[in-house]
Symmetry: C2
């Protein structure tokens, strides 16, 4: 356990819950949630707050970046665009929010520089998001360079992506090992009360729990 402070981007989903559990064993935690006008924000925020309490984070910040929804271009933020149940291989899904992760990293870096955090942890998973260009390792290498150049000379913030190379089932295995509280997370792109079980995100979650051979605690009693 180091004394370093890490800003952890936490949506309230399974991946960021796992990334937070990973960071909690290494760093002091500053948890950041960004509301960018996504469909299921109310549910995500509720999960985020439970995760902040569970992990006993030292700092937390909720940022309103709904301009990403105003800019549009994504079925994740535009209620008039349907969320397709299937993703077409080789195509960028309509749930892609243009340059979203760069906006999240920029906000996280501003906060990290202000509070003296030296790590920035994000639960991006390359395989989980086929076609999302901002979930690839090269994107984060470029972002690290931008952060080093764009902050004060004495500021050194390093992005860490502990899940980037994992398959979804291995994210779950890692999370179970780290006792990540998956019962407090939310994955569905559509629902706010119960998961729709039909969107791409619900399906990926169900398949991964099945492959890991464990029950999804969110499904308990259903």
């Amino acid at each position: 356990m180091s004394n370093e402070l890490a800003v952890v981007l936490a949506s309230g989903g399974m991946d960021s819950c796992t990334a937070t559990a990973w960071a909690a064993g290494r760093y002091r935690l500053a948890m950041l949630h960004v509301n960018y006008g996504q469909r299921t924000e109310a549910k995500e925020l509720e999960c985020f707050k439970k995760l902040v309490a569970y992990f006993d984070a030292e700092k937390m910040l909720v940022v309103d970046a709904r301009h990403l929804a105003a800019i549009g271009g994504s079925s994740l933020t535009d209620p008039s665009m349907p969320v397709p149940p299937d993703e077409t291989p080789g195509q960028i899904p309509s749930t892609y929010v243009p340059f979203r992760n760069a906006n999240l990293l920029a906000i996280a870096t501003s906060w990290a520089e202000t509070i003296g955090a030296t790590r920035l942890v994000i639960g991006a998973v390359e395989q989980d998001a086929p076609g999302y260009p901002d979930c690839r390792p090269a994107f984060y290498e470029a972002a690290n360079r931008l952060i080093e150049l764009g902050t004060k000379p004495e500021t050194h913030i390093v992005i860490e992506t502990p899940l980037i190379a994992l398959k979804k089932v291995d994210v779950i295995r890692l999370g179970l090992e780290l006792k990540a509280p998956y019962e407090l997370t939310w994955s569905c792109y559509q629902g706010q009360a119960v998961p729709c079980l039909n969107c791409a995100s619900c399906r990926r979650r169900a398949e991964a729990f099945a492959e890991a051979g464990v029950a999804d605690p969110l499904m308990a009693g259903r």
Copy 2:
């Protein structure tokens, strides 16, 4: 004149007015203003809207990114921190907003990708901002790489910084040549009705107009 669409970041200040005049001769204009909770936002927004009308921009967008003020760390956004009249050479000024330009570029890129713009014009001036790490050419080279990696494969957006290597007096000379409407701009870090003439930004503006040998149209009648 190309048929390309350019997102131009416009604060309402002299540099971005000059950059807009530069872009207006080359591209179709999509003008973007970001309110990040800066002290003089009301005045800046008023200037921005006048500039949109003057340049007859095809699209305009005003984005609320006041989370940068909430995050703090800058005298430009925190009313409890004084704006110092002098800058100490070799030191980052207290008006530095942590990683501000990366946040602006991320927002601009999200918009550019959504509307199909292929250029992103920002009036950053390296010499004008001694110590602002996000006003250096290397920062924009790294940002170009991040944009190329973080957007769709078919998206190609290039940042242009037409003023980056200019001295302030040469920005004014270029602007006068391009008939940039400086009477519609605002530079002061403090005032909302009349420029304070005492902050570093007012002084730089006054010195540069004096050096160019022309009167500042904003000072007409004073």
